[in-house]
Symmetry: C2
């Protein structure tokens, strides 16, 4: 049985495409007395990008903080805030930022039309009602959040996405100019999120020609961006991110993403840097990929934090192992159906202890 | 101003995916006493694929003939036939076949919801009402018809597509097993349609990183299929076709497709072989591409018809030139905004006379 893969149905790509956001939204403003919510990373507070937002009438500018990765409690609070702001459901939710901000925009657009707490929907296909129209405007490239069917959230008992076709954005605007000023470390870590999931997808057991075509082109673009010099590197990285996300369609990420989830859940380490930290110890899984990753680190003079788990209690380490091993499809993709025989708690713990 | 590119929102890929067509259609069967129309190339009459169709209740099996490329008069006749069959609009139109059959399915699904003749809508964005839900099941790979926003038709005064976002299929099912038994010549010509439009897209002046990423991977897959040996060559060719179609998003085809339209319109030559015939004389436009194309021909022992225009009247040649030069965006992409200075009627005529 093959999955019927749902894709974001509208995409605009180009330098300066952000200027057309107002035109894209115009036909969606259908509710009398309605409004649109611009969910924007608060790092952009009073920055030029805010003044370029096509805000009209009662539109709401909702600055969000992503110092920590988004929590279900934070989503619930934001949804309450929007409900209190006006009696009607907004005509659109526009997410402007990196993966976390896009995940917040996705989760809000789902929760406005579904009862209860966002924590109730962490899992697969638990959402019942379609989401509010929502648009992705990435200002970071690599996560693939613009194209994925998940809104990754940290809940009271787990870090797990709201996975559903309704989670998908209705529209993506890819404007490479928006990623030009990202700080170098963040640019690198987020780009590596893409590179690493390409490796995990291409080396995985789930791969088919659809995912391979996207994954191979994505990794090719990552190599151009991180190992060569191209004046249109921002365009290339945006396409790498999009293709990387598409590659996961019939595939999955693998060992590195699973271990990174543990680092995030227990230590609050952000996803991109968490992937880099974990990947550096995964030669036994991805020998070629790790070698190339190190060349990329060297070229961009990146040094990773070390000894993160040194002072941790056994309980915390144990929770980290449980978190990582709970991601069954990732391990299945990485090691095949008998992954549990190969990926014991001991082996996982040993890996974490080296980080 | 960038185009807001619409994409077919659902895709299923895999060997045997055709078996899931019934499951895909089930939730779309919403009208009481409703039905689905299976538009299938009559080359499959009484072949196994017909018996595998998930036909239920009042569903209509509509065998279509594509010995000639689809004419607007043929579309109008088929639409009348469907309207006469039942009072209600069908719940779905399923196109099973090559580019021509898929174009017929697209055109029918548009015309069932729009008044008048299909000839009235040849052009860009003339369609007013959304199409009936329609599904592509390609049995040939290369045209990109499964993903394109055009239904190419030969009308009383021109060969020109119905171009609109409503033309897009709602669902694609890509089952590489369905293209395994295509006769070699047809396999080659249709595959070359893809290879040639990759060359035209990548060498064109409209190219951006979005179209480049798709075009480069598509041409890479074409090379694997036509210059190497791979047991999963059918999977690769299906992806090449899909990626080739996506590449046209922000790009265009070029000189070869323009000239091929003239051959089709005046001589009734099918699109794929028409592209091959024309491309062989276009070294001055695409030197590397033509060289590689000849290697592919040689490897697969293909010989093209020659001297097609030898006995033609001046009027017919003139009409062919007019048809080709009427495709303004194709020439603009190929030669830039001052294309008219370079691509005179004389030069076009000379090219045709060599074919």
């Amino acid at each position: 049985m093959y999955r019927n893969f749902a894709i974001v149905p509208n995409i605009m790509f180009g330098r300066g495409a952000f200027n057309q956001l107002g035109d894209v939204l115009a036909p969606k403003r259908v509710t009398e007395g309605g409004y649109v919510v611009f969910v924007i990373d608060d790092v952009f507070k009073d920055k030029p990008i805010e003044s370029r937002l096509p805000i009209e009438g009662d539109d709401l500018l909702l600055r969000v903080n992503v110092d920590d990765e988004p929590k279900t409690s934070y989503i619930d609070k934001l949804v309450e805030e929007i409900r209190a702001y006006k009696d009607v459901v907004p005509d659109g939710i526009i997410g402007i930022g990196g993966g976390s901000t896009m995940d917040i925009a996705k989760a809000i657009s789902l929760m406005l039309n579904n009862p209860g707490s966002s924590a109730d929907y962490q899992g697969w296909d638990l959402i019942e009602n379609p989401s509010v129209y929502h648009v992705a405007v990435p200002t970071l490239a690599g996560t693939g959040a613009e194209i994925s069917r998940t809104a990754i959230l940290t809940g009271p008992v787990k870090k797990l996405g709201i996975n559903s076709d309704y989670t998908l954005f209705h529209q993506i605007i890819l404007d490479p100019e928006l990623i030009a000023d990202v700080p170098k470390d963040q640019w690198f870590y987020t780009g590596m999120d893409c590179y690493i999931h390409d490796v995990e997808s291409l080396e995985g057991t789930f791969i088919n020609e659809f995912s391979k075509a996207y994954g191979e082109k994505s990794i090719d673009l990552c190599r151009q961006v991180f190992l060569e010099d191209h004046k249109d590197k921002d365009d290339k990285l945006m396409m790498a991110s999009y293709f990387g996300g598409m590659s996961i369609a019939y595939s999955q990420v693998g060992a590195c993403h699973a271990l990174s989830y543990g680092l995030s859940y227990v230590l609050g380490i952000h996803h991109g840097i968490g992937c880099c930290i974990a990947f550096d110890y995964l030669e036994e899984f991805y020998p070629e990929g790790v070698k190339e990753f190190r060349r990329m680190m060297e070229r961009h003079d990146i040094s990773l934090p070390r000894n993160l788990t040194a002072g941790m209690s056994d309980e915390s380490l144990d929770l980290m192992v449980t978190t990582a091993l709970g991601l069954v499809p990732l391990w299945e993709n990485c090691l095949g159906p008998d992954w549990e025989k190969q990926m014991t708690r001991e082996r996982t713990l040993e890996l974490y202890k080296r980080m």
